[in-house]
């Protein structure tokens, strides 16, 4: 499986519910921040100045990282407890890094943990952004990002045309209601071609009866030639029915974590529908 | 006339000399018994004669052709072979096993043309298997199985027969039945070479005896000439009393 697909699934499976924000005392602004995984990296690199970042995860500088340019020159640490503790951080930011027991472990040792958390829809994404920005003691920056998102979403909603889009990965996987990708599609003013909830193979038989107006092709730029021998995408019916459709490429970086970068996906889809 | 002429046959394997200077002739009308102690080279002689083992020296003329240049099918049409080991991998019906004797003529157990079918029926009759044609081979006794193998050999209607211990592990009655069948085959015009351990049986039926010892042919000729107490002592190391064709083995020397 591509690493990004794995990440995306990990996020869907990660702990639910709004995690507690560590209290920052008036004087104690976190100055030694460590982020444990790729998703946390994005938030830390976006909101925090270089002098307060102790280390980010090794994935921050990879091609699929949204904040890749900002990560250049930033020291990295693998999300292994010993390595992280040796650096003596005063705040650890994570979404899935370090394993499910990480929060408990760091709490025992007395290091505050800021959890990115899971978001079922765009509203929750925006409130997450604000909450994390607050936890990093950068309230204004967070508010600015959220404001921009809200404005852009409203503009797009007005232009909604109700076309249908089929989201798919090179392995022929698509998703229906109940996932963040579905919310992205709805926010772009489009209808999801896949009506069954959850992650599944693209509906080969459905394609014989009706075709989507648009195709949202995700993660295609990271895998040049995915040779899945049993992929429904290789089936002649899929090829024939989808060949005439407009394809909107969706960068893996946009949809693999919940964050403000989801807006790029929403905008690309809305643009493609015109 | 199909006959086997073996001259000066030699076989060496892994440094051991299995055959040396062996020679004999088999013609239709002869029932030759090949005798000798275990390890004398009887099976090697047979296999090398048939071309199944590559000889090191000598010549074998099988019906006018060198045996090693015959294809398996051509060889099968000239000589029917009953080997020492006679496994039956599957519980086929008796008729199907006998039908395999027609393999060299392009027949298969389920596909017999009238000529093949007739040969199979004749062979079954000759070996007293008419009651057993639909029985499966895993339900037969040792004697019945021996007759099935004989029938298979006769179904080929080859002018010559070579049988390696066809009566091993059979009770006396079955032994005589098999030898009677082979005798009848020779009387009809066939030529048979039979390896036997039972000297009295060999003496009773054979027109010729070939005595082997340590890879060489020690003696050959009609029983009247070659069957002597001295020979029994030399070849088998046993004391025997000979009276014409009657043999009584008294004990080891």
């Amino acid at each position: 499986m591509s690493r990004l697909t794995l990440l995306l699934l990990a996020i869907c499976l990660s702990c639910c519910g709004a995690p507690p924000t560590p209290k920052t005392t008036e004087a104690a602004r976190p100055m030694r921040i460590v982020s444990l995984d790729y998703c946390a990296d994005q938030y830390v690199l976006k909101f925090v100045d270089m002098d307060r970042i102790l280390a980010v995860s090794p994935d921050a500088a990879e091609d699929f990282s949204y904040m890749q340019e900002a990560a250049v020159g930033v020291p990295t640490v693998r999300p292994v407890a010993e390595d992280v503790l040796l650096m003596k951080p005063d705040l650890v930011v994570r979404s899935y890094g370090g394993g499910p027991d990480a929060a408990k472990f760091f709490a025992e040792v007395g290091v505050p943990v800021l959890d990115i958390g899971w978001a079922p829809d765009l509203e929750a994404v925006m409130s997450n952004i604000q909450r994390v920005a607050d936890g990093l003691d950068e309230h204004e920056r967070g508010a600015l990002v959220v404001r921009r998102m809200k404005t852009r979403l409203q503009e797009i909603a007005q232009q909604a045309e109700g076309k249908s889009v089929l989201y798919m990965t090179p392995a022929g996987v698509t998703t229906g209601p109940g996932t963040l990708v579905h919310e992205i599609i709805t926010a772009a003013g489009l209808r999801n071609f896949e009506t069954q909830s959850g992650w599944r193979s693209i509906p080969l038989e459905d394609l014989a009866y009706r075709q989507p107006d648009l195709i949202g092709a995700a993660f295609f730029e990271t895998l040049t030639n995915h040779p899945d021998a049993w992929s429904p995408m290789k089936h002649p019916v899929a090829r024939k029915q989808l060949s005439d459709q407009t394809v909107v490429p969706l960068k893996g970086a946009w949809t693999s974590c919940n964050g403000w970068f989801l807006m790029d996906a929403v905008e690309a889809l809305a643009e493609g529908a015109k | 006339m199909t006959e086997i002429i073996v001259k000066n046959l030699g076989l060496t394997k892994d440094g051991a000399t299995l055959l040396e200077g062996a020679g004999f002739t088999l013609r239709p009308g002869q029932l030759i018994a090949l005798l000798g102690p275990n390890g004398a080279g009887k099976t090697s002689l047979i296999r090398t004669t048939l071309g199944m083992e590559k000889r090191c020296s000598g010549t074998v003329n099988l019906g006018g052709t060198d045996s090693e240049s015959l294809s398996p099918m051509e060889r099968a049409r000239r000589v029917a072979y009953l080997p020492q080991q006679r496994p039956l991998a599957w519980p086929n019906s008796v008729r199907d096993v006998v039908a395999l004797g027609r393999f060299a003529y392009g027949a298969a157990p389920g596909r017999l043309n009238p000529k093949d079918a007739k040969a199979v029926d004749t062979a079954i009759e000759l070996c007293d298997l008419t009651e057993l044609t639909t029985r499966h081979t895993d339900t037969l006794s040792g004697g019945e199985l021996a007759r099935v193998h004989c029938a298979r050999a006769f179904a080929a209607e080859a002018p010559l027969l070579i049988a390696d211990e066809p009566v091993a592990a059979l009770d006396p009655r079955q032994q005589f039945r098999i030898m009677n069948i082979i005798q009848a085959y020779v009387d009809r015009g066939g030529g048979a070479l039979v390896v036997l351990h039972d000297i009295p049986l060999a003496a009773k039926y054979a027109s010729h005896l070939i005595w082997m010892q340590e890879g060489r042919i020690a003696a050959e000729g009609p029983p009247e000439q070659t069957l002597t107490a001295q020979r029994m002592a030399d070849i088998y190391g046993v004391r025997a009393r000979i009276d014409g064709r009657k043999v009584e083995i008294e004990g080891a020397i």
Binding site: E205, P227, A229 | L50, M52, S71, A76, R77, F103, A104
Partner: protein, 330 residues
């Protein structure tokens, strides 16, 4: 024999019915009448597309994979004189899978669509040749099966290693499909590239089947009645390798169905290996189509792999046959 004269027509009818039944299953609920009309040239183009291009190829692929394994199993059992011989057990399917995945994940298959089935065929031939050579040196079928187990394990391990080192990334589900078998999403395109190998292998096996009957007498006597042993071994190995390679290229490695089908058929054909070839192929194809129906009917979140269902049926049969034989041989 009256027993055999109705066997093949009965299997043919059952196979057609099973394939029709398989075409009734899919993500779009379609009544049998609708499916039938789509087969007979009904007016709904989408229905016809679904039935002819999606459902029928899948059913046909299952049948072809099964038939190839059935005829190879029957032939190998005839050659080795043992009812436990079969491409899956002897490591032939696993070797074919290994060669196929190697060609796929190291970019060789991109050169031409023929490369994949040919690679599978070479993998299968390498294994069948190895087994045939080993069979000359040892009379014990237990040894052969152990060699097969070793081959399967080696092929599986090598596959994991190669896929981890591959320059082209892979999906875990893809590897599972290769190792456990699947006919999902098969189209006439994949069938078209595999069928020549399956048919060529079957043709060679059928052309040389007379010799398999002769082998019931043992190699010595078979040679005595006119069988060219070397030629028989080469042709049977070649045919089984081609057919198995083609089936693996189409549906991954599926085992045990090549044991079950010949075993059921043999009593009906007088235990004659030659006459068991075609009925075994048909029965094995039928079994696999039914297994593929089962794969889709059984309620589970992820679709079960075809090879898993085949093993659930076939492995207990394998054990049972092995135990019965020991009882006889004792």
């Amino acid at each position: 024999m009256t027993r055999t004269s109705w066997l093949i027509p009965a299997l043919l009818i059952a196979s057609v019915l099973a394939m029709f039944g398989a075409c009734l299953l899919g993500s779009t609920p379609m009544s049998p009448a609708r499916v039938l009309s789509a087969f007979l040239g009904g007016t709904d183009a989408a229905d016809r597309l679904v039935v002819w291009q999606i459902r029928l190829p899948r059913a046909l692929a299952a049948y072809l994979v099964g038939a190839a394994l059935g005829i190879s199993g029957a032939a190998l059992q005839g050659l080795l004189r043992n009812p436990l011989a079969e491409p899956g057990v002897l490591g032939v399917s696993a070797s074919a899978s290994l060669a196929a995945t190697f060609s796929l994940y190291y970019g060789l298959a991109a050169v031409s669509p023929w490369v994949l089935p040919m690679a599978a065929m070479f993998g299968a031939l390498a294994a069948t040749s190895l087994i045939a050579i080993a069979a000359i040196r040892t009379q014990s079928v237990v040894t052969l099966i152990l060699i097969g187990v070793g081959l399967s394990s080696f092929a599986g391990a090598a596959m994991s290693l190669l896929m981890n080192l591959a320059p082209n990334p892979f999906s875990l589900s893809d590897m599972i499909n290769w190792m456990l078998g699947s006919v999902a999403n098969r189209s006439f395109r994949e069938i078209g590239f595999s069928v020549p190998f399956i048919l060529a292998g079957a043709a060679i096996l059928l052309a040389s089947r007379r010799g398999l009957s002769a082998l019931t007498l043992g190699e010595e006597a078979a040679s005595g009645i006119g069988l060219d042993l070397r030629r028989q071994r080469i042709l049977t190995v070649l045919g089984a390798g081609l057919a198995t390679g083609g089936s693996v290229a189409l549906g991954g490695a599926i085992g045990f169905v090549g044991i079950v089908a010949p075993h059921i058929i043999r009593p009906f054909v007088g235990h004659d290996a030659a006459r068991s070839l075609i009925p075994s192929a048909m029965l094995a194809g039928l079994i696999l189509v039914l297994a593929d129906i089962g794969v889709r009917i059984l309620p589970s979140t992820n679709e079960l792999k075809l090879g898993v269902v085949a093993a659930l049926i076939g492995a207990p049969a394998f054990v049972w046959i092995a135990m019965r034989r020991r009882a006889i041989n004792d």
